[in-house]
């Protein structure tokens, strides 16, 4: 594009010239925007926004020029309605418009809880700065002295917060005080701006897709995050690896096969949560923080079971069929993913970890399984917390939740029925060997444990507000739904 001749008005920085030319915005328009007092950085951000046209820019600048020339500032109807609802005086709204704020931005600020007195302080500050930047205005800085733009110090966020540590130290949950504790049902920002900060125009959207609290929230998320951080453990040094002694070949092979299965489950959990984190908007950081620890749990579980498989003369076993893995990772909504991964899959996994601790041959194995039980229990707690929150707020989607479980239970049962490798490994571990009586004993115990995990799964769903799942359970699992009748395992 050919360079336009320079006309009267402020000089345009070179990078701004390039952005204007790249977006087919006449330089004269840019010059008029600068003359109005808009900072070059703000103009740059606006021009870089997708869909900006010369016509729209012309219209906006003409309106601004008319206002500055004493023309009447007209408050659009939707803005007037929002201002009335939030007790913002008309004059304050007009001052905001004169500064170049769009009606949409002002409504968004009102809905986000910005009080009129906070807005007043911010607008006054902006007016003062804008006045100082006008052509011909006296500059405060002497020649050669670096001037600081301290307008950011007047950010209209809630100030003077002094959260004190409690018995557990200074926790994330404790920070939810005043306006910072206001967690909206809908998060209006598409950027990574933290909740409680003040938005600026022009920041590119981050591509999140979940903006509704009911779609991801769990009341226990902040506490679970702290719990996960507090109760973290290190497989390299917290497990007494030296306590592991050589085992009979069939037992070592069965344990290694079980470890292989757990490694797969851990990789799946990590991939699944990792896929959903970028979809969740930042208004609900408690959930994002907790899930980040769940990601770390998954990595740790992969690590510890790979270490167990490779530390006692064994190795990795055979891959599992993995039909159920696809049911989890292919889920199209977070609530479905959480229900299937955190509640259904983890109930089953919890049962296996308990079983692993029950058949442990060393202090190391016992510790590994107990520590994994703790991590998995947190994930179960998150899943149940989210399902409960979702069901209370989305009455009309209760049937949809059953559909999630119908589908996932069916695939999990199919997976289980086709996974002879895992079943045989469990029978050997529970029976203690390959002798006929041991196999029979192992089989009986496995059936007993299945009853326990189905019982626990249903009790969890009942606590989350889905007691009728007992009647709708997949028919292959229903046979395990009665109370365990005999302590075969004992």
């Amino acid at each position: 594009m050919a360079q336009e001749p320079q006309t009267q008005g402020p000089d345009i920085p070179e990078d701004l010239v390039k952005i204007a030319q790249d977006n087919n915005i006449p330089l004269d328009l840019v010059r008029r925007a600068l003359a109005l007092g808009f900072p070059a950085e703000a103009v740059k951000q606006q021009l870089a926004m997708p869909g900006v046209t010369a016509e729209a820019a012309e219209q906006f600048i003409s309106q601004q020029e008319a206002m500055r020339a004493g023309g009447e500032v007209v408050i659009p109807d939707d803005l007037a309605e929002a201002a009335k609802k939030h007790d913002w005086p008309d004059e304050l709204v007009k001052r905001g418009l004169r500064l170049g704020a769009t009606a949409e931005m002002l409504i968004s600020q009102m809905d986000a809880g910005l009080r009129p007195d906070q807005a007043e302080r911010f607008i006054t500050q902006q007016e003062r700065l804008r006045g100082a930047a006008q052509p011909g205005a006296a500059r405060s800085a002497e020649a050669g002295e670096q001037a600081l733009d301290l307008s950011w110090m007047k950010v209209p966020t809630e100030w003077g917060i002094r959260v004190r540590p409690g018995k557990k130290g200074l926790t994330v949950g404790a920070l939810n005080v005043g306006t910072y504790g206001d967690i909206p049902d809908y998060w209006p920002y598409q950027t990574e701006m933290p909740r409680g900060a003040y938005p600026i125009p022009g920041v590119p959207a981050m591509g999140y897709t979940i903006y509704e609290k009911a779609e991801l929230w769990s009341d226990n998320a902040a506490d679970l995050y702290e719990e996960a951080i507090q109760r973290r453990w290190r497989p390299a040094t917290d497990i007494p690896w030296e306590s592991i002694e050589p085992l009979p070949d069939e037992i070592e092979r069965a344990m290694c096969q079980l470890c292989t299965f757990f490694c797969e489950k851990a990789l799946l959990a990590g991939d699944t949560v990792g896929k959903w984190l970028p979809e969740m908007s930042y208004g609900y950081h408690e959930v994002k923080l907790y899930l980040a620890t769940a990601e770390f749990d998954a990595a740790r579980h992969f690590e510890v079971f790979r270490k167990r498989a490779l530390c006692n003369g064994g190795g990795m076993g055979i891959q599992s069929p993995g039909y159920f893995h696809r049911a989890i990772i292919d889920a199209r909504a977070w609530t479905e993913t959480s229900a299937v991964l955190h509640i259904l899959s983890n109930s089953f996994l919890m049962g296996l970890y308990q079983l692993g601790e029950y058949v442990a041959h060393s202090e190391a194995e016992s510790n590994i399984f107990r520590l994994c039980i703790q991590d998995t229990a947190r994930q179960l707690a998150f899943g149940l917390g989210h399902l409960k929150y979702f069901l209370i707020r989305k009455h009309d989607r209760r049937e949809e939740v059953h559909t999630y479980f119908n589908k996932a239970e069916a695939v999990m049962v199919y997976d289980d029925e086709n996974d002879n490798v895992l079943r045989e490994a469990l029978i050997i571990l529970l029976g203690g060997g390959l002798i006929k009586e041991q196999i029979l004993d192992g089989y009986r115990k496995l059936e007993y444990f299945k009853r326990r995990w189905v019982r626990d799964y249903l009790a969890r769903l009942e606590s989350a507000g889905l007691p009728e799942r007992r009647e709708r359970l997949h028919y292959s699992l229903k046979k395990y739904a009665e109370e365990p009748v005999a302590a075969q395992a004992a």
Binding site: Q354, D456, S463
Partner: protein, 151 residues
Amino acid sequence: MTQGGVKTRASFPSTEWFEAVRSLVNSDEQYRRIGTCDAVVGVKVPDRQKYYLLTFEAFECSEVKESTEQEVDNADFWLEAPFEKWKELITNVKDNGKADLHHTLNTIDLEDPQGFARSRDGYKRDLFYRFNQSFQYFFDLSSKIETTFPN
């Protein structure tokens, strides 16, 4: 717990026994390192009609008290076993310095068809799993007490 080389003696089940373990736990740096634990845990010894409530809060066991069965039923979860099973557990801990592989809380829970850890709420029962290491450590510390068992 030793005082001038003399271990605390306490009878199980009794408030004194749980107080003695609580005192050990609250002065044990390793317990604190396990991490925060928040739960109200009941203990039932039904054949002796003895019921207790243990309150775990942040990095300590903040309270133990004798209670009624009804109050224990409202705890987050409770640990229930006949007197002889409790005696076996505590004796095993005493003999080994901590529970051996066959007497961990999880193993005892699995062996009981109704569960050693019970609750009226599936979510709250999972606190037994979430803080399992803390509860195991609590009972393991009873190895430092001279426990007596009344006939």
